[in-house]
Symmetry: C2
Subunit: 195 residues, 2 copies
């Protein structure tokens, strides 16, 4: 099942041949992690990138003892920490918010696969461009939407997060105070039945 998710994800970009699918299967490193496992610590250099096959991981930055949630990833979301690319100490920690099954990528594995499957380079570029565009759009939303609109957009696009992630992490992810998020939820519940 796990491998099929990886193949389905890659097939969105370029349709894999049977041989390429086999190569992905034999080269994929899939691991299970318990809820609470810290995958990367702020200040360390990241040696792995992830794709969530099952569960939920959360990236956060600690400043003056406070956690700022910068990203939340669930099933079929890939995540490459900036530190994996820059080779500088990570500005974020990454933690499993639930029991997780993750596909792990590393520089060595990627190099090895690139030699056997040169099209992977083109695919990596397509995936990277796609992620870059998504990040850019996310930044535009973050800057231009009001707190209420940001929460409404979350309900529309990623409703599962509301059940799966603690409310104060969600508030921090949306860049609003937990008490403001409570007020917004109450107000939306009263006016439209949505919370």
């Amino acid at each position: 099942m796990s491998y099929q998710s990886i193949i389905d994800f890659l097939n969105q970009y370029l349709t894999l041949t049977k041989e390429e699918q086999e190569l992905v299967k034999t080269h994929s490193l899939v691991k299970e992690y318990s809820k609470g496992t810290v995958l990367l610590r702020q200040g360390e250099v990241a040696n792995e990138c992830y794709m969530v096959l099952k569960g939920c991981i959360r990236a956060y930055h600690v400043k003056d003892g406070n956690e700022e949630t910068t990203e939340i990833y669930t099933e079929n979301h890939p995540f490459t920490p900036a530190s994996y690319i820059t080779r500088e100490p990570s500005k974020i920690s990454v933690v499993c918010e639930e029991d997780c099954v993750l596909s792990l990528g590393s520089m060595e594995k990627t190099q090895e696969m690139l030699l056997k499957m040169p099209r992977l380079g083109e695919m990596a570029h397509l995936i990277g461009s796609d992620l870059m565009a998504k990040q850019q759009l996310q930044m535009i939303d973050f800057k231009s939407l009001s707190p209420v609109e940001r929460y409404q957009k979350l309900i529309e696009t990623r409703p599962e997060l509301i059940q799966r992630v603690k409310q104060y992490h969600l508030a921090s992810y949306l860049g609003i105070k937990p008490e403001t998020l409570s007020r917004i939820r109450k107000k939306l519940l009263n006016t439209s039945g949505i919370s």
Copy 2:
């Protein structure tokens, strides 16, 4: 001179051979634009990506008649609007803040060059990864720094913007109100002589 900037930029990622440098020269489309030229309009699909060789371009999103500045690019900064990748209507407009010399990229040109210089794919992936990491770090800063810290970081990392971009665009770029930015500048000038 213009071409050399493009080659210097690419050489940061992979050192180009003489032949590859020639290919870049003959395939580069370099154009001049007057201050105020709109390169892309919100709602249109972007067919070009840019590298600033001279001048300054600004990306902004209009909402309820207000401009939110999302990005500002000066010399040697590449910029690929999300719409160029997603092929969906752009959420931003792009305007020349000064008279500009830009190198323009398009899908057709890229395909043409890829055929003649397959290493360009690897290079595009490296550049894309680098930009993705930068965007991610920018988002972390935007979320975790206070308005004063955001302005201080701008002074440290991109001091030229203070002279080149109108203060209300800078304020919007930093996600703070123009009057707050004025107050911050006055306070920093009084305490440290920095404005």
